[in-house]
Amino acid sequence: MQAVAGTAVGAGVGTGDGAAPLAPRARFGPALGAVYRAQLSRARVARIPLLFVATFQSVGIMVLLRGVVDSGDPARSVVSGSSVLVVAFVALNLLAQYFGQLRAGGGLDHYATLPVPPAAVVLGAAAAYASFTVPGTIVTAVTGCVLFQLPMAHLWVLAAVIPLAGAALAGLGAALGLLAPRPELATLCGQLGMSAALLLGVLPAARMPEVLGWARDLLPSTYGVEALSRSFDPHPDWLVVAADLGVCAAVGVLSLAVATWAYRRAATR
């Protein structure tokens, strides 16, 4: 025993009751970085075709609505809704699928038997999927601005919209994937969430029935859409934009916390 303690895990922590020292835990920051890097790399292999699908879907919707919607307010919500839809597709839909399959296939065991903080696994995967939406969202927003002659001066606001809406939707996607009792249900929930983001985000809010308006207010992606939409004003009200983004951030923190709890629950059955 003493020899095991001395040779194998020199840097470990003793517990004082004659037990062997424990090897150190992986610290949160480096673990998050390692998961993020690994997830980005596997998403690059497995998800590039899907990213094209997400972008084409959003651009296609804008082209279709080009004939129906005049420029002005409706155009703004079409462009911002389509841009945030890319985030919803990848962060919500694909991440729900990923965690659903990982859980069903026993893949969580790998992480659960490593001394890594659960939050690092969930946040690393969520961050990787969210950053994977960056090119598609930018392409969609720029294409939309060209199609509907909207000003691109404040598109930099995407730098806040993507991570914050990404956090909210990725957290939701991860939680759905980890909580769904079967992977097919996780996929279904992800698809439904994305459809909701599509319908409630792209269609102008003013023309919606009241019930749909409430549903729209409940969906976290709405606040990302609103923030982006407001930034097309020649003189945006930055306070309202910041408030919208604040809602995204709050939902993001909440949903990622729920996802981390769901991960713990799923990892130790």
């Binding site: 004659g18 390692a34 596997r42 038997t113 001394p115």
Partner: protein, 325 residues
């Protein structure tokens, strides 16, 4: 003090309600009072057919499952009370590779090292060392899912080795591997045992592997340890018996009285009969089937000293599910 001490471990999977079209599954007592000790530096095996409760046992050792009752101590730590400590005490190779499938071999090994607490430089250095040791250097840039089953298994084994732990828990590590890969696995295990006193707990249903690599083996059947000893010690239990295998060309010549007498004791699998007999009776039986009309109907026969499979059967285990390869 043993590296791993398990006492009266019980784990029952609850009954599942039947859905439409699916039958209701009753509760399964997967571990039914398991007690065993693993000593330092040992390669300790859990041998039994699929469904015997081996994986359930190791999933409790690794903190993935909580036992209903009983105790588990690994290197002096109570893992029933502190299951999260398992990750800091042992390296685990499970049966699934889903989490790693889309990563390259190099990234899977390095990431696992990082998550086992290694620094960036350490993880890269250990990654290269482990990959070189297992002969995976040519495959470092390939994604795991592009590899053959045996290669993928070897890459997963590499992830279990990085970030050295004093105890390795390996659930059927060599499944699907060719002999070269198997040798790499056992050489890597032996090196760690000789250099650092690493202890290995191994799940297998492969009888030949169990006989050749294990120091001690616990034979598990229906959630219980039915025997625990060295492979040699276990075989002593049935040493007065030999195993006679007869393969008939077409159908057994039951009109020959000697063959008809053997039929009752034979375990039949297609055209193959397996018999466990005292040595003198086996000699008589061989003489009978290698002459006259019985010999004309005989395709092949073998006479062998008992294996762990015979031990398992002699102890009352079910034969199906053990592999001889």
């Amino acid at each position: 003090m043993p590296v791993c001490a398990v006492r009266d471990l019980v784990k029952t999977y609850p009954a599942t309600r039947g859905r439409r079209g699916a039958a209701q599954a009753p509760a399964v007592r997967a571990n039914d009072g398991i007690t065993l000790d693993v000593r330092r530096g040992e390669i300790f095996g859990l041998l039994g057919p699929n469904g015997a409760g081996k994986s359930t046992l190791v999933r409790q050792l690794t903190g993935l499952l909580r036992p209903d009752s009983g105790s588990i101590a690994v290197l002096g730590h109570d893992l029933v009370r502190h299951p999260e400590r398992a990750a800091r005490l042992l390296g685990y190779l499970g049966q699934e590779s889903t989490a790693l499938d889309e990563m390259t071999v190099a990234l899977a090994v390095e990431t696992t090292g990082r998550l086992r607490g290694l620094g960036a430089r350490e993880a890269r250095a250990e990654r290269d060392a482990v990959i070189g040791e297992l002969g995976l250097t040519d495959l470092t840039g390939r994604a795991l899912k592009q590899l053959s089953g045996g290669q993928r298994r070897l890459a997963c084994f590499a992830t279990a080795l990085i970030g050295e732990r004093p105890l390795l828990v390996l659930d059927e590590p060599t499944t699907g591997m060719d002999p070269v890969a198997r040798r790499a696995v056992w050489a890597a295990v032996d090196r760690r045992r000789a250099e650092r006193g690493v202890t290995v707990m191994l799940v297998t249903h492969n009888v030949l592997e169990a006989e050749s690599v294990l120091d001690r083996v616990a034979v598990i059947d229906r959630g219980r340890v039915i025997a625990c000893d060295t492979p040699g010690g276990l075989k002593e239990m049935v040493s007065e018996e030999v195993r006679l295998e007869l393969v008939w060309r077409d159908r057994p010549p039951l009109d020959v009285p000697e063959v008809a007498a053997l039929a009752a004791a034979a375990h039949t699998s297609g055209r193959r009969w397996t018999l466990r007999l005292p040595a003198d009776r086996a000699r008589t039986a061989v003489a009978a089937v290698t002459s006259g009309p019985a010999f004309a109907a005989l395709d092949d026969f073998t006479l062998a000293t008992p294996s762990l499979e015979d031990v398992y059967l002699a102890l009352g285990g079910r034969a199906e599910g053990l592999v001889k390869a």
